[in-house]
């Protein structure tokens, strides 16, 4: 259901701060809406985003229902050496979506 898209540079120079842009398709059902029968539609959101670089947690975000559908998250990273960027989105209920890519530091 949820599909992540990520835009991050493949290479960086040492000491450079790079920008990572992410978007994941997800309805972010807030738990505030009602269906046609007047029943509250249960909350189902992406509640947590984590970014690891070379195995270390470098950025995280806790999301509330106030975050828009198809959550867009942009953050910065200063990679000291080449490594793997691993991104994880965690949904209510525990399901996870992930994306990883290598960043080469010259």
């Amino acid at each position: 259901m949820a599909r992540p898209r990520v835009k991050a540079p493949k290479t960086a120079t040492a000491g450079e701060v790079i920008v990572v842009k992410t978007l994941i398709s997800h309805p972010m059902e807030s738990g505030q809406r009602k269906d046609d029968a007047g029943q509250i539609i249960p909350r189902k959101i992406i509640r947590r985003f984590e970014a690891r670089y070379a195995g270390t947690l470098v950025f995280a975000m806790d999301l509330a229902p106030a975050i828009s559908a198809n959550p867009f998250i942009e953050f910065n990273l200063k990679p000291d050496a080449s490594g793997e960027l691993e991104l994880t989105w965690i949904e209510d209920g525990g399901e996870q979506y992930s994306h990883s890519q290598t960043i080469t530091v010259k």
């Binding site: 701060v17 790079i18 807030s30 505030q32 809406r33 670089y53 270390t56 947690l57 470098v58 950025f59 995280a60 975000m61 806790d62 999301l63 509330a64 229902p65 106030a66 975050i67 828009s68 559908a69 959550p71 867009f72 998250i73 942009e74 953050f75 910065n76 990273l77 200063k78 990679p79 000291d80």
Partner: protein, 146 residues
């Protein structure tokens, strides 16, 4: 006839004496959330910026940028930024957790705004000090699926 002093005092009494359900009804718990983050300390201002449009035509998706002026070194960096909506059904919007590897303490996302309201951001630094920023966004069409 009443003289001027009596009229002024009388109208003051009327204003003070009025029940204020409108104001009380606006509290969505944002005060408590802010208090829990600050622990009662008064945050400073100037280092944290919260950038949002002045007018949002569509409350379903309003861009938001938080940025903290910080060296982001192991000994002096931003740990956490909390974003609070004062006029949504629930006050919490997001918490951003930074680290020295962030390089620059900035994050962008998009949020829902149910109506015109103030949005508050609070930052906690590695030394425990706090920063606050606040902005008002006018919303044309609310964004909570009402």
């Amino acid at each position: 006839m009443w003289n001027r002093r009596e009229v002024i005092l009388g109208s003051l009494g009327l204003v003070v004496g009025l029940p204020r359900p409108a104001l009380a009804g606006q509290d969505n718990g944002s005060g408590k959330l802010i208090e829990a983050f600050t622990g009662g300390k008064t945050p400073g201002e100037g280092k944290l910026s919260l950038t949002m449009p002045e007018i949002a035509e569509n409350g379903n998706t309003v861009p938001l940028t938080v940025r903290v002026d910080s060296p982001m070194s192991p000994s002096d960096h931003v740990q956490e930024v909390l974003v609070v909506a004062t006029g949504n059904p629930a006050p919490e919007v997001a918490r951003f957790h930074f680290s020295p590897a962030s390089g620059v303490a900035q994050a962008d996302t998009r949020m829902r705004l149910a109506k015109t309201q103030d949005v508050v951001a609070l930052a906690r630094m590695s030394d425990g000090s706090l920063q606050q920023a606040r902005t008002t966004v006018k919303v044309t069409i609310g964004g909570c699926g009402g």
